[in-house]
């Protein structure tokens, strides 16, 4: 976590300078993130008063270590593509059994510092590339609302505010971003009873609302760690699919076991090994393969896939 916290400080200090400068198209293409920027005017029409378009600056994210470095981009993009595929398949029943509320995906971990936020952001960015679906990123880690902070929305109207005022429509709190297909629900203003709010019936209601709003929307919740907070368990109960992030060579096995025991047996729990250092030759292969001039090559992707499903 300290890594991101440091990065956030850096970003905040630099934001004032580069606020107006958009990243160039070339840069974004290089980052291999689909950077079809939504035109601010389109979104503004439909948005609730007070909401604004959040800008996602890839450079900032990269500095914060929240997306892969330039060398690792291609590899990480491939890896996330492989990860999102079964999640989407189960969410909408395409070439897989449909899971109820499968489009509501909670990303959590056993303990802090395993890369939940990193995973959520990258997964969300990867999902935005899907042409058929939109993605909603919900910052449910209210104690450490890193996504909100990253997007300078930590003091914006957000989830907690909606929970406290049942009269308010949750959709009014959702902010569109400059990445097409991606919108964000910030954490909301911090308050002491955040834990209770997240565990309340209101949360059920909100999630229900979100899930029902669109049958073509994937909702990613960035939840707090399971073993360190109580709301994470409540949040996971609302989701159709759960992604439990495990940091390689860091998370103790016992903690993973305990975290799994907290989750409902019937729920679709998927594991994700993060920050694997020297796991397989695939890493080296991908690393060597991704020379800057190379773009997507179907053949190479096939190789990656086959290795994963081996």
């Amino acid at each position: 976590m300290s890594k991101i916290s440091e990065a956030l400080d850096l970003i905040h200090s630099s934001r004032s300078r580069v606020n107006s400068s958009y990243p160039g198209n070339d840069e974004i293409a290089d980052a291999n993130v689909v950077a079809e920027l939504v035109s601010p005017t389109d979104e503004q029409n439909s948005s609730v008063a007070g909401s604004r378009i959040l800008r996602i600056n890839l450079e900032d994210l990269r500095d914060a270590g929240l997306i892969g470095s330039e060398y690792d981009q291609q590899l990480l993009a491939d890896q996330y593509r492989d990860i999102k595929r079964p999640l989407i398949a189960h969410a909408f029943g395409k070439r897989a059994t449909r899971i109820e509320h499968g489009n509501i995906i909670v990303v959590t971990s056993s303990i802090a510092g395993e890369g939940k936020t990193f995973t959520t952001i990258n997964l969300a960015l990867s999902m935005t590339k899907e042409r058929d679906y939109t993605t909603l990123l919900v910052d449910a880690d209210t104690a450490k609302p890193q996504i909100s902070e990253l997007l300078c929305a930590e003091n914006d109207f957000g989830l907690l505010d909606v929970l406290e005022n049942p009269d308010l429509d949750v959709h009014s709190a959702i902010c569109p971003t400059d990445v097409k297909g991606l919108s964000v629900l910030p954490a909301g203003k911090p308050r002491p009873n955040a834990t209770e709010l997240l565990s309340s019936d209101a949360m059920d209601h909100v999630v229900d609302q979100l899930g029902r709003a669109s049958s073509r929307q994937l909702i990613l919740l960035d939840a707090p760690p399971l073993l360190q907070t109580s709301e994470a368990k409540a949040l996971s109960g609302l989701a159709g699919q759960i992604v439990l992030v495990v940091r390689a060579e860091h998370t103790p096995r016992g903690d993973v076991g305990t975290a799994l025991s907290l989750l409902n047996e019937d729920q679709a729990v998927n594991l994700l090994l993060n920050q694997a250092r020297y796991t397989s030759s695939k890493y080296q292969y991908g690393y060597g393969y991704h020379a800057p001039e190379d773009k997507e090559e179907p053949e190479s992707k096939e190789i990656h896939k086959s290795e994963i499903f081996e």
Binding site: D72, Q79, Y80, D82, I83, V243, V256, L271
Partner: protein, 530 residues
């Protein structure tokens, strides 16, 4: 195979996480260990070699006589004695080693150390068996030599003493036995003599036992009796014959007178003188003095013969009339009868004597066996003691002979290597220890890291994760490095490498400069104590 490889790699990676623990542990172990090694005192070894020759020509001879030298086993005994506690205490005292110990416990420990550090060894076989090596290790070189010297002296003395003791013991034993049996023998001798004195005549002689004697005497008695009977029968027959013969036969008077005259002493002399006179008359006349003398002598003899004849005619015959009887048969029977009477009288006296002897023997026939048994007993004792005594005497002579041989050259000592110690300490092998501690330190460090890793199991790959959780694993996200993280990591690995290399470098330095360091440490220690 692949599984094993995968497992090993995962263990190494897991251990790698705790590399800094390993480095610190290794450093701690090495520093402490190295200091201890440098503080270890130098140990010097003193040794000496003795050639103990137990073989000689005399040994063969002695083997034949029965005095086996057995030097090998004796020396073994000496070796045991050398390492006995009293001997060690003596050695400690003689060399001044005991000054190091002040308390009783220290004293005990000192003796134990001695026992541990003294080595008395012989070669395995052949000539080597006679080559004794005595060695001792101590941190004081002079002390080591002194201890070995003392031990060598004791060793030589003990072996010599043992040799003497052996023969002394043997001869002493024999002497005692001899005296003892000598007393027994003379006692038995006296008893036997006394018994013989008391039972003179009753003891079995050369002729055998009393029964044999009785038998013989009885036979003799019987002989005498039968002889007597024969004589008595003869006497009766002679009497009968005598009675049958007439004492006088008339026609035979002349013959008888002639015969009777011839019986006188004068007749013979007359005849001799007459023959002599006839002879002389052939050569001489009647007037020759010799003839005259003979004639005169004859005349006297004639006269004398007449007188004798008249005297005889006047004397009457006796009852038997033998002398006067003129029957020669009667006369000879008479004589035989007389002789027979004499023999009978002699036999009668013999018989009575023999009867007395037999009667006496019969009287003793009950007491004699007891005496004989007692006698046999005494004789047996005596002869037994005699033979034992003789045997011992012989043995003592043999031993004397053997001792004479031993004194000469049975055991010879030859100190092939006098007690000495090398100038260089033989221990501790510091270089080896220093390097060993480095290895141990690294091992302990690695082991520590591995143990910590074992207590904190983590996941290396999707395989281990899915195997543990039994839930689907969506995938694996590779580590992504920010430049600053990458630098920090490089720095970490570099520091780790430097720490490890430094450890080895320091070890190398210590090995190279160990001697100087030992001296330095000693002065440092002295400085702090004073």
């Amino acid at each position: 195979m692949r599984e094993i490889f995968r497992f090993i790699v995962s263990e190494i990676r897991g251990t790698w996480r705790y590399r800094w623990y390993a480095v610190f542990a290794a450093w701690a172990v090495c520093v402490v260990g190295w200091l201890l090694v440098l503080r270890m005192p130098d140990i010097y070894e003193a040794r000496t070699q003795v050639f103990v020759d137990a073989d000689s020509r005399l040994a063969d001879v002695m083997n034949q006589v029965g005095a086996t030298p057995g030097v090998g086993s004796q020396v073994f005994v000496v070796r045991q004695a050398l390492l006995a506690r009293p001997q060690l205490e003596y050695t400690a005292h003689a060399t001044g080693l005991d000054k190091r110990a002040t308390t009783v416990e220290e004293q005990e420990e000192l003796i134990d150390d001695l026992l541990e550090n003294i080595v008395v060894a012989t070669g395995r076989s052949g000539e080597g068996r006679r080559l004794f090596t005595i060695s001792f290790r101590d941190r004081d070189r002079a002390m080591a030599v002194s201890v070995v010297d003392t031990l060598l002296q004791t060793f030589v003395q003990d072996v010599l003493k043992l040799k003497d003791q052996g023969t002394e013991q043997a001869t002493g034993y024999l002497q005692d036995q001899l005296e003892y049996y000598g007393e027994l023998l003379s006692e038995a001798e006296q008893k036997l003599a006394q018994f013989k004195r008391q039972n003179v005549g009753l003891l079995p002689g050369e002729s055998g036992g009393i029964f044999e004697r009785l038998q013989i005497e009885t036979i003799v008695l019987k002989d005498i009796r039968s002889n007597l009977q024969v004589e008595l029968d003869g006497q009766i027959e002679l009497r009968r014959q005598l009675a049958a013969e007439e004492p006088y036969i008339p026609g035979a008077t002349e013959v008888a007178g002639e015969m009777s005259l011839g019986g006188t002493s004068s007749d013979q002399s007359i005849r001799d003188l007459e023959a002599q006179r006839s002879q002389l008359l052939l050569a001489y006349t009647e007037r020759h003095p010799d003839v005259v003398a003979i004639t005169e002598q004859l005349a006297q003899l004639y006269k004398k013969r007449e007188e004798e004849r008249t005297a005889l005619a006047h004397s009457g015959s006796g009852i038997e009339g033998a002398a006067n009887a003129n029957n020669p048969v009667y006369q000879s029977v008479q004589i035989a009868l007389n002789e027979c009477g004499v023999r009978i009288a002699a036999l009668r006296s013999q018989l009575s004597q023999q009867q007395r002897v037999v009667a006496e023997l019969n009287n003793h026939i009950n007491t004699i066996p007891e005496v004989e048994a007692r006698y046999a007993e005494l004789t047996r004792d005596y002869s037994q003691y005699q033979s034992l005594y003789d045997e011992l005497l012989e043995q003592r002579e043999r031993e004397r002979l053997a001792t004479a041989g031993k004194d000469r050259d049975l055991i010879t000592f030859n100190i092939t290597d006098p007690p000495a110690a090398g100038l260089e300490p033989i221990a501790p092998m510091r270089a080896l220890f220093l390097a060993g501690i480095l290895v141990v330190g690294l091992g302990i460090g690695t082991a520590l890291a591995w143990i910590i890793h074992q207590f904190n199991p983590i996941f290396h790959d999707a395989r281990s994760l899915s195997g543990f959780a039994h839930r689907p694993v969506l995938g694996v996200i590779s580590m992504t490095w920010l430049e600053r993280n990458r630098t920090a990591r490089r720095l970490d690995v570099m520091c780790f490498a430097v720490a490890g290399m430094a450890l080895m470098f320091v070890c190398g330095l210590l090995i190279v400069f160990q001697d100087q360091l030992v001296v330095f440490m000693d002065t440092l220690a002295q400085g702090t104590t004073t």
